[in-house]
Symmetry: C2
Subunit: 434 residues, 2 copies
């Protein structure tokens, strides 16, 4: 294949009907931000909206804003917007708490639903390389329920599904490799084995079309601060398939974080807990009006794409961007031991590309640092993974070309070997939050 | 006693060394805000600080701000500031999640600590009129542990403490009545009975000097959006007495919401959970940088009082304000059936005054609405409670006089009987969040 030129990439940008969506973001001048899989950038609308909540709704409206500004309804309203991105219906999603906490809620309910009728099902199955917080939460519930947590490689998950399994808990797109799992097929296999399927959409909601209903999934949670652009530590979200609504009404299957905002009538202040209808019971404490306003602005940047093809169009562009990134890396960064870790097959790829470098062949950490110094923001995962998020909402083809151009220069010049890029010269590498 | 004049109140304001602290807040002109026990007002510093986090730290710094702007340390840093208000030491408090969720964490640990050695202790004791979310969370853990939740009137709590009790769980100041419990005495009684004491400081942190260490308490949680002025739905906080640190290291006593940010080394991304040292393990998911910045500004408004006598001085003024409020209500609002529900005794009073009106004698809801229309913001709790927060950081004596003057006018004129103030004319009374 002949070399891909920057001119050819500019031509792709000129034809890109999604390009105007970039205008929704305030990105630092000169920065090539390939880390939206870790923290989405600031939407242009967010600062003014947050300011209006702070100075107007809180400062002037004070306590009355729980009603007059709709604070009380915001978890459901933002949830309804997120629902449109993940193949869920209205009234099925709430935006609250963190991914970890929401996972605790749904995993507890899933275990109760399955194990009440089948106490012999004592296993939670997950991927060994799942994001750690998911595994930590599953560990806690496994201990509580006297269950085991079985961890398998991505290709060995199906083989684990038998009649000893209560719940299959997976993240749809792997945070390290960017590999996309087949939600529909794995959910069907879990159901065939008599288990329920819990999905973490942290790296897929807003990154690609997710179809929870179509896949027949049982429960889902996801993150607000990555592809949803909701801001650092934004509220997460939680979904339950409505087919479970009636069975969740039995007390033994209530979600355990039974805070007052999930009560059927919180403002009656009754001493006994009665869960609200459907997804409402997954709200726990008092929601943050400021954080939810920022999250809503972030979700709106994705809904704005509905006018130009929606998530399907974003997905096409995302794959085109990551195809381009892979092709350019292979053309221009060869000979340094870098391997493309993300699957080439579109059906198995999320919206990021991960490269792997054996630590014996070079210092991936230092390469990422050298890129960051040049304004190309990716991130590093031990022991040798370089992660690059290709987010179609705000990245163009020429930018991908420029990013790989920087990378080629860093490699060809050996710049990454400069001591200041080495981890040993840094007090900490706590740089990134997946 | 002769009538208290507005002039006398103005004289008190002129002598009030805490009066300049009012300048820290942006209160709507003409409003008399007596609802800081429900939602603290906006500090003047907050809007700019939040804006800096949004546009600078997030917008420009992006992912690097987890370190460069200190986002990752914020739960501990804000926790250390809150510690100064509640008689805790540095490194003992983190600001995270909601009160409900933090209560779930500590109550689970408390139950595990006690019941491992004494499985026969099967009771959680609390106050019947405790804020419902505390009772709902306790219900959930009681069900999980095969325990019972015993609810008693405030004066019958001690009588419940025997060798069948695992945990005494109380809120220091009652949200409805404003009654202050004796933390030291009740904790001592719990300990004498072999139980642990969990305290909710929702209506006391920032409202009066709290001395967790001095009282020998075991666990505490509290709210960020009331007297700490952290904004609607602000992060809450959690404290554990360090004497429990070592015993919490056994796996069976880990706090159950074991998210990655509570891990000993979260950025190693190891598959097995290992809790961080001490209070750090009570962090769960990724903290909200925006919400924590707002909370920090709120906490700073209280720390600013350290220059002029601190919480002890604030407490003196708070009691003087509520004494004045009670005296004025008795002088000017008599003859309408209103009873002062909050204890007269200073040692038993928080920083609010609650009045009670038998529904047969009049419509307390309508009275509150008529006051709100006049810019006097209190709130209502069924069936007949009128709550007024007397917060010394931003309220003066003449303002209390003016508030009661409005109340007297509402009562004398019968204005509250106008149909528009009746709850029947309103679609919802979800106005306030305790």
């Amino acid at each position: 294949m002949s070399d891909i030129t920057r001119l050819a990439c500019q031509a792709l940008d000129a034809q890109d009907s999604l390009a105007p969506l970039r205008g929704q973001f305030s990105l630092p001048a000169g920065m090539l931000y390939l880390d939206g899989n870790s923290l989405g950038p600031l939407p242009s609308a967010t600062a003014a909206r947050v300011q209006a909540v702070v100075t107007g709704e809180w400062g002037q409206g004070l306590i009355s804003s729980w009603n007059s500004a709709g604070w009380i309804d915001r978890p459901r309203l933002v949830g309804d917007k997120i629902a449109r991105l993940i193949g869920a219906g209205p009234g099925e999603v709430v935006a609250v708490d963190s991914t970890s906490i929401n996972l605790y809620k749904v995993l507890a309910v899933a275990l109760a639903l399955v194990r009440e009728g089948a106490p012999g099902r004592r296993r939670i199955v997950s991927e060994r390389d799942n994001f750690p917080t998911d595994l930590y939460i599953a560990e806690s519930l496994a201990r509580q329920h006297g269950c085991d947590l079985t961890l398998a490689g991505a290709d060995e998950i199906e083989a684990q599904l038998d009649d000893s399994v209560a719940v299959l808990m997976l993240t749809q797109v792997n945070y390290r490799t960017g590999r996309l799992l087949d939600m529909a097929a794995l959910t069907a296999r879990a159901h065939a084995a008599g288990a329920l399927a819990v999905w973490d959409l942290a790296h897929s909601a807003g990154a690609l079309p997710v179809d929870l209903r179509g896949a027949g999934a049982d429960f889902a949670v996801g993150c607000g601060y990555k592809y949803l652009n909701g801001g650092p530590g934004a509220p997460a979200f939680v979904w339950v398939h409505p087919r479970h609504a009636a069975r969740m009404d039995a007390e033994a299957r209530w979600q355990p974080l039974s805070g007052w905002m999930g009560h059927a009538t919180p403002f009656d202040f009754t001493p006994g807990y009665q869960p609200g209808a459907g997804i409402g019971r997954f709200i726990c404490g008092t929601p943050s009006a400021i954080s939810l306003a920022a999250l809503e602005c972030g979700v709106d940047t994705l809904l704005a794409a509905e006018a130009c093809g929606g998530l399907a169009a974003l997905r096409r562009k995302s794959l085109a961007l990551s195809d381009l990134f892979i092709a350019l890396v292979e053309q221009r960064c060869a000979g340094h031991g870098l391997q493309v870790q993300t699957p080439r097959e579109h059906a198995r790829r999320g919206s990021q590309v991960s490269l792997y470098l054996d630590p014996a062949d070079g210092d991936a950490y230092a390469m990422v640092q050298a890129l960051i110094e040049r304004g190309v923001i990716g991130d590093f995962r031990a022991p040798g993974i370089l992660r690059f998020g290709l987010t179609p909402l705000y990245l163009g083809f020429a930018e991908v070309w420029d990013a790989v151009d920087h990378f080629a220069q860093v490699l060809a010049s050996g710049q990454w070997r400069e001591p200041r890029f080495s981890r040993r010269s840094r007090p900490s590498h706590r740089t990134t939050v997946t």
